[in-house]
Amino acid sequence: MTLLAVLQVVILILIVAGSVLAVWLKDLLASVIALGASSLLLALQFYLLQAPDVAIAEAGVGAALTTAIFVLAIRKTQRKEEE
């Protein structure tokens, strides 16, 4: 495998790890940060797959705007998840 293929596999594993972390964490703010990191890695994966247009849209909407909206929602409700 080339170096680029190895990098892409590593990024995919990190995306899955970030998504699992976002579901598993009980602190919702940390969960939102994990989701944002996962989304940013997805944007990097789009760039490596030579779709820079989609990568900019994903980084702007997925990583920035949804994270900010989730943070606003957590500020208005509660930070810890209930059992």
């Binding site: 849209a57 702007g60 920035a64 705007l65 943070v71």
Partner: protein, 149 residues
């Protein structure tokens, strides 16, 4: 939010806005365009909302709704400009003046002052996306009063 977040936000918000404008302005040459640049610029509004709270952003009196209306109207007017030929015909390309420089054939680095109505429509879409997302997020932040924690 803490002083660290507010200071970093004061530094970063102009930089994010300028980068959004760059993505819109070069939309017809490089990746990106109206929607992407507008979303990048709206993330500056999101940063302001998270750092300073929604009432402080509302006190800025940024005309998000007016920006959205003007963007939509400008897009339709630019589309009607081509009605001598067809709807959406690019009547400004190659005519000289604003965004009207002739484009050489063959490989070239791209001329910023070209494209006709396409860059102007990119600006219209960019302002519409910035106005729409900004208005939605400010209303979301204002909902149910502000409890800054």
């Amino acid at each position: 939010m803490s002083v660290v977040v507010k200071t970093i936000a004061r530094i970063l918000v102009p930089v994010i806005l300028v980068f959004g404008g760059y993505v819109i302005l070069h939309g017809h040459l490089t990746p990106g365009g109206g929607f992407q640049g507008g979303a990048v610029a709206a993330s500056a509004v999101a940063l302001l909302l998270v750092a300073f709270g929604a009432p402080a952003v509302k006190r800025l009196k940024a005309p998000f709704s007016v920006l959205e209306d003007l963007g939509g109207i400008a897009f339709v007017v630019l589309a009607f400009l081509g009605l001598g030929f067809t709807f959406f015909a690019n009547s400004l390309a190659g005519m000289g003046g604003l965004f009207g420089a002739p484009v050489p054939t063959g490989p070239n680095a791209g001329i910023l002052n070209s494209g006709g109505t396409v860059p102007l429509m990119n600006w219209a879409v960019g302002f519409k996306v910035l106005g729409g997302l900004g208005a939605v997020m400010v209303l979301f932040g204002l909902f149910g009063g502000d409890d800054d924690r």
